[in-house]
Symmetry: C2
Subunit: 155 residues, 2 copies
Amino acid sequence: MIAAANNHSDHEHPRPRSAAVVDDIVSQLSDLGYRDSEPRRLVISAIAAQSRPFTAEELCASLPCVGRATVYRGLRLLVETGQVCRVLLEDHDLRYQLSHQGHHHHLLCGVCGASADLEVCDAEDILREAAAAAGFRMSGHWLEVYGQCGECIED
Amino acid sequence: MIAAANNHSDHEHPRPRSAAVVDDIVSQLSDLGYRDSEPRRLVISAIAAQSRPFTAEELCASLPCVGRATVYRGLRLLVETGQVCRVLLEDHDLRYQLSHQGHHHHLLCGVCGASADLEVCDAEDILREAAAAAGFRMSGHWLEVYGQCGECIED
DNA sequence: AAAGTAATCGATACAACATATCAATCCAAA
DNA sequence: TTTGGATTGATATGTTGTATCGATTACTTT
């Protein structure tokens, strides 16, 4: 079940946990001075309900009662505040997903589309050294790891 | 001068070397069954003349005599055949540049826009192990390293 | 509780980037 | 030189995301 580690919807009691996630995010936005509105809650709730990295258009489609602009604005706000992160698939398709912690990277399954977090980035020191060897001072990096998740290897 | 390692235009004799690059690419395309046309050569030549990662629109602008569709098609063909690689900047701006070898990554300077290659990917083994620890079988990865190049550190 | 004020909303227009269409043209092999 | 398929370019379309703006809503102040 490692591949489903980020899955926040496939369990017995979707409401409570999902609602808690929404409340938590709304609370954090409130601390930053952003208001608590019904459309924004709907967007956050829809994001929390996703079990896979999703596209902005998929999010729009799942929220027919919320205006497109509002969905995009909400998504952008959450990316800017670090609540949602971007995921770049191997075919350069840009997707989004809930961000679970600070610095981390994604393990992306090319078969089922699942995503898992690589929370520790041991590679960072190596990259910093390699960059220094080329005269660069590293300040950041973008990394996505592609492959097959445990469940898809079995099949 | 490490940061300028990929610079193919700022030297004393632009023509010969640049022309050789174009001939080489045309030859490789020919081996794959693609034809040698004037517009395509112009596109390749314009790409070879770039000293920094560039956008598709910049390429179009530098080739007013070649149709937009042709520029995009040529660029896509070269990406598909591995002659050109995509570069993702820190602000998610997608750019392109000549690909110099097989597997490599980019060191991107956020100040001057220069790009250098990180030819050896020592981080690969670490990533493979980390992926395996999460039940994943790694098949590939995308990595960009951001920072400042040697010249920009001095300033 | 009422009111003021700025944030937010949604419909829509617009922008940036890239691909699909298709008749005309060109390359290269026979 | 002929010929068939690749290539071209003008243009339409698609995709993804942002700007505009009047109407509405949430939060604060009184």
